[in-house]
């Protein structure tokens, strides 16, 4: 064989091998489609397209947020690093073009040009039906509505075709913000009622599989566990027309592959990657990596205060001095978190949440406190964590275990499978554990009401009860509703100080939400729900 023939045959062979795997762009139409399509890759996908459904998971919230409209939403402001960040205190109309807050009610005037995806106009009876549904279906949506004192269908009144009034049961500062979260979304009542049954009066089975809203996007294809395809609703009336025509959201379970897809430029945006990957991607600068703190969120070490040894405040303080704070920040989080420890000794308590404690790692002090409490030789305990978040929780618990060993405290690590974690928390029997709590509504008293109040909600994981604490939290809630700033400030400072002196849970850090995207993807906004809002995004 001549050399030339050989080369020919080799290149022919190579072409033959490569042909089936050549890049996907064969035709110009397809290239166009690519520039107007946003390809998202993430680990998990939705299990239900309706946030009112039974057990809708967090990815399902993202679908609801983009495919349904609410009466009101938040304005944007400039957040840390110049990233657009939702403005907790400023509301704008979404389906409502006017909001009029009275003493014991709020009245909304609806946009007359808003239409559902099937072309039916959005009217006041749809709004009432949807809000009735949210407070009636039970489970998470009903719980979330009650956080804003929205509990009874009688509270939602149709005034005329395009006017709705929401009556307050009592004065509550959280009522209006609670109407801007994901849950009070407006559903196409006629369409859903047609597909409801006696057993399922709210049509949850129907909306589980398809979107029936008026939002900027609609789901055109959903293969559970594989992909969600959403198309832009060109008739969307509640804001500027979105730039992205199509959103393809693929589930890629392997974190390494998600990173490879991003770095090769095949995927546009991803979250849920290990911190180390985010840190490396940030450093090499090929992609845009946004890291923002969870609003109103803290990862903490909790202690069950109902039984020894953690019923003794001295032991709890000793634990707070024994935490390897900085090691956790460096080795577990690669710096991607806000420290919630080590505030300056003379720093006054602020009217803000979250804020750092004054604790630092000080083994001498911890040892002294333990001796004082009568545990000079330490004790045995178990430290539990949720395996669903093992990437952070496992190294964190190992570091804590090592640190406690220096005090003679023998902590066995107990890994709880994700499916079990909730059950374990409800039982309130774990002596020592790590967990995250973050509230959608960004108010200190909201956080404290769920996490420290003596009514012992599921998030008061420590079973902490203190009449003094309850008085301060209730006081702050009342002061907020009546606008008594001085009393409010005093109460907030009071409960923060008490929480840090009594220290039933040790704040470690405020976690970050990390999102990596291609440089040509713009318009990322941070929302309280920490999911993507496609409406503002663009590919340029």
């Amino acid at each position: 064989m001549k050399r030339r023939d050989f080369l020919k045959s080799v290149s022919g062979l190579a072409a033959g091998v490569l042909a089936p795997t050549a890049p996907a762009i064969f035709s110009p139409a397809r290239a166009d489609a690519r520039s107007e399509t946003l390809l998202i890759v993430s680990e998990g996908g939705p299990n239900n397209l309706d946030i009112h459904g039974i057990g809708t998971n967090v990815p399902g919230y993202e679908v609801s947020w983009n495919c349904y409209d609410r009466l009101i939403s938040h304005e944007m402001k400039s957040g840390p690093g110049g990233v657009p960040y939702y403005d907790r205190d400023k509301f704008k109309g979404e389906l409502a073009e006017d909001m009029n807050i009275g003493d014991m009610s709020v009245t909304f005037k609806l946009r007359k040009n808003a239409k559902f995806h099937d072309g039916a106009p959005v009217t006041a009876k749809d709004v009432k039906w949807s809000l009735d549904r949210a407070v009636s279906v039970g489970g998470f949506p009903t719980f979330q509505m009650s956080a804003g004192s929205l509990t009874k269908p009688e509270q939602f009144v149709v005034v005329d075709d395009y006017t709705v009034r929401v009556d307050f049961l009592k004065k509550d500062r959280l009522t209006i913000p609670d109407l801007a979260v994901i849950v009070p979304c407006v559903v196409n009542s006629e369409l859903v009622k047609k597909n409801a049954s006696e057993k399922d009066p709210w049509g949850l089975e129907f909306t589980k599989q398809q979107t029936a809203g008026s939002g900027a996007y609609k789901v055109t294809k959903w293969t559970a566990g594989t992909e969600v395809v959403m198309e832009r609703n060109d008739d969307w009336a509640c804001g500027p027309a979105p730039k992205i025509r199509r959103v393809i959201w693929r589930m890629v379970p392997q974190a390494g592959n998600r990173r490879a897809l991003l770095e090769r430029g095949d995927a546009d945006i991803s979250y849920e990657l290990p911190f180390k990957d985010f840190q490396e991607m940030k450093a090499n600068g090929k992609l845009n990596v946004v890291s923002l703190p969870f609003s109103n969120g803290i990862q903490y070490i909790g202690m069950n205060v109902t039984r020894p040894p953690f019923d003794n405040p001295k032991v709890r303080q000793a634990m707070a001095y024994a935490m390897p704070y900085q090691k956790i920040m460096d080795a577990v989080l690669f710096g991607l978190a806000n420290p919630m420890f080590g505030a300056a000794k003379d720093k006054p308590t602020e009217v803000a949440w979250p804020q750092p404690t004054k604790y630092v790692t000080d083994m001498e002090k911890a040892k002294a406190l333990l001796t004082e409490a009568g545990y000079a030789n330490g004790f045995e305990t178990t430290i539990s964590f949720d395996l669903n978040f093992a990437g952070v929780n496992e190294p964190l618990c190992v570091l804590v275990q090592e640190s406690l060993a220096q005090l003679g405290i023998k902590a066995t690590i107990n890994k709880v499978p994700g499916a079990n974690w909730r059950t374990e928390l409800t039982k309130k029997e774990m002596p020592l554990f790590t967990n995250v709590f973050s509230g959608w509504l960004d108010y200190p008293e909201y956080f404290f009401y769920w996490c420290y109040h003596g009514n012992n909600s599921i998030f008061n994981t420590m079973s902490y009860k203190s009449p003094e604490m309850d008085k301060l939290i209730d006081g702050a809630r009342i002061a907020a509703a009546t606008g008594d700033t001085a009393a409010y400030d005093a109460d907030v400072k009071g409960f923060v100080d008490l929480a840090y002196a009594d220290i039933p849970r040790i704040p470690l850090y405020q976690p970050f939400v990390n999102v990596a995207m291609q440089k040509n993807v713009t318009g990322y906004q941070y929302w309280f729900h920490r999911r993507l809002d496609y409406r503002a995004m663009a590919k340029g």
Binding site: A24, G138, G139, A224, P417, N420
Partner: protein, 337 residues
């Protein structure tokens, strides 16, 4: 023959009933409370109880079982809580994805392993025998997810030859209308050559990953069985009669060496089908393995039960096919219950 097949199927019924009972009890014995899991991170105790009631988990176990078997008899495998879809429909959609991948992996593996095994047996101690030993040892000792990740790293990330590991088709192609559920066949039926190429491109790396893993048992079994047959009297007779080496090996020795190989193939196939979870995870492949594992993690009973049942049925059918194949390969083997 048909009565034999019928008889065999009849014998399978008690084992299937056993599988139904055992999976039901095992899934109930799983730790974790699905109601608490699905109530979401912000649920109160009442909310969890409400969900438990809705899902029917507050009823006694025996009542749940009666309801389950009743539904099963009507072809209803229940609904998955994690994906929100009926289990039967999901398995129907996902089984072809796993089967296509596994079959292609197996074909690639057979094409390499059988000639390798035969050659190794005919020339024991030669370089080809050593090659056979080295590849099979390497194949079994490399975990599948590792092989998969290395292949993705080299052929996708570094060289860019392979398409993005994003499942069965490139994201910008739509799936062909379902006829068989096998994309390679369906795209050809739909005469969509671009989609066929894309589907094939997506299949190559995962199929090779599976093939590398399954090479060892097939090649080793072929080699061992060939060695035994080549040493037997009839081969000596054939050789003594002056038949050409090709005829002796292919017509006489190979056919007789096939029986244990076919048994191994059936085992490898069923094993791959259930155990390619890791490959499915690495390549974001929408197969039944990853489906079952995800359901297991969420203590989602219905898909786990459906998966185990499907696998049991497939084992029964596979064994039947292998038994029939035996008869074809070796007429002396009779199908008997």
């Amino acid at each position: 023959m048909l009565t034999m097949i019928g008889k065999r199927l009849l014998f399978a019924i008690p084992s299937l009933i056993g599988v139904v009972i055992v999976t039901f009890l095992l899934t109930r014995a799983l730790p974790g409370d699905p109601a608490a899991y699905f109530a979401g991170p912000a649920a109160t105790k009442e909310a969890i109880d409400q969900i438990r009631k809705k899902l029917g988990f507050d009823k006694p176990l025996i009542e749940q079982f009666v309801r389950y078997t009743y539904d099963l008899a009507h072809g209803d495998l229940g609904t998955s809580l994690t994906t929100g879809q009926p289990v039967a429909a999901e398995l129907r959609n996902r089984l072809p994805a796993s089967a296509e991948l596994t079959l292609l992996g197996l074909v690639v593996s057979i094409v390499i392993a059988i000639p390798l095994g035969v050659l190794a047996a005919t020339r024991p101690g030669s370089w080809i025998d050593h090659l056979c030993r080295v590849t099979t040892t390497a194949g079994v000792s490399l975990p599948v997810f590792f092989t998969g990740l290395v292949l993705v790293y080299v052929f996708y990330f570094r060289l860019g030859w392979s398409p993005a590991p994003l499942g069965r088709l490139d994201v910008f192609y739509s799936a062909p209308p379902t006829v068989t559920g096998f994309y390679l066949i369906d795209t050809l039926i739909a005469r969509d050559v671009e989609a066929f190429r894309s589907a094939l491109g997506q299949l190559i790396l995962p199929a090779v990953t599976l093939a590398v893993f399954s090479l060892a048992p097939i090649a080793r079994m072929t080699r061992a069985s060939m060695l035994a047959v080549l040493a037997s009297d009839f081969v000596r007779t054939a050789r003594a009669s002056g038949l050409s080496p090709g005829k002796v090996i292919v017509t006489y020795a190979f056919r007789n060496a096939m029986l244990p190989v076919v048994t191994t193939l059936s085992m490898v196939f069923s094993f791959l089908l259930g155990a390619n979870v890791l490959v499915e995870k690495v390549f974001a492949w929408p197969g039944i393995g990853s489906y079952a594992v995800e359901a297991l993690i969420a203590s989602d009973f219905a898909p786990v039960q459906g998966f185990v049942l499907t696998m049991a049925v497939m084992y029964v059918l596979l064994n039947l096919i292998i038994d029939i194949l035996y008869g074809v390969i070796d007429p002396r083997v009779r199908l008997e219950g």
